[in-house]
Symmetry: C2
Subunit: 185 residues, 2 copies
């Protein structure tokens, strides 16, 4: 699987690093996409840093099989960028697996793609989602169709397990072929 990971400043160090390494170890490709390419991003706790490999301008949803959204302050920074929001919305609409932890679901909120799905998030984001009409639950990991969400660093092992399970489902590989709405208009 080719996984797109969208990353911004002050990402939660372990919420990026641990799933990133686990997904790679399981044989998946992970491409880290930022607002710009070649930008060195620091984790919120100063423990991890990573240089973005691709800019959102270059990133095409059809090139990826799944989307991984780490938490921290990163998702709120990313959702200020329209192209980033559109990328998330398109991945969602193509029914590709989306793995979002902590503040990650802020990007689902910004993309207006959360209704009709059971989801969880960081405690303060749970409230935003609830007020926005989402079906929120407070569990370490919630899997609803192609959407996998978790709350915080403690949930990382369950998040990784659920993520690896959905990434192994071959059916998801084919969802990329759904034509883009209005492409031929």
């Amino acid at each position: 699987m080719n996984i797109a990971c969208v990353l911004g400043p002050q990402f939660e160090d372990s919420e990026f690093k641990k799933p990133f390494e686990a997904f790679k170890k399981a044989g998946h490709e992970v491409t880290v996409i930022g607002v710009t390419a070649g930008e060195k991003l620091q984790g919120a706790h100063g423990k991890e840093s990573f240089t973005t490999q691709k800019s959102i301008d270059e990133a095409r949803p059809e090139d990826f099989d799944a989307l991984f959204i780490p938490g921290g302050n990163s998702p709120d920074k990313l959702r200020a960028n329209d192209k980033m929001v559109k990328f998330v919305r398109r991945m969602f609409d193509m029914k590709k697996p989306i793995l979002a932890i902590c503040h990650g679901p802020q990007l689902l909120l910004a993309a207006d793609r959360y209704k009709g799905y059971r989801i969880t998030a960081w405690q303060t984001v749970q409230e935003d989602l609830q007020k926005a009409g989402a079906d929120v639950t407070d569990e370490e990991v919630v899997v609803d169709q192609n959407i996998i969400t978790s709350r915080k660093p403690d949930d990382i092992p369950a998040f990784i397990d659920a993520g690896l399970a959905i990434l192994q489902q071959p059916i998801m590989k084919h969802s990329a072929t759904v034509p883009e709405p209005g492409l031929n208009q």
Copy 2:
């Protein structure tokens, strides 16, 4: 006026410092309240730091005439604390002036006190507020009754002007102690 300023980690440096200094220069007292007292907080840009003067456990809404909520990552950190949210809700319900900039209105969202007021906020928070049913507008400063909101560092001068104007209204000084007219009728 005794102004309560609620502050958490990674506050937006200028959104705290500039209004803080302007309010003090105009003769107001500003008490910086954190989750704990004596905690040295760093600004998100590393330009400012401030040590909290009072903990939220010690802070009594009746001791303050107004509330100032700087932006940055601080409000999202603070709204994870129930006492902080209750303090904001109580200040709101006592109709004291509330001055919130950038991510500051996240605390109004958490306190469930925003409906029926025209407000603004940082662009990503505007969306959360809209989805939660708030009456959001995109202006440098919005004054609606006792609620004053702004969007970002560029708005600071307008935010300070509107803040100082409402802090000079003597009626606000009495709102905490004087019983409402007609209470004994």
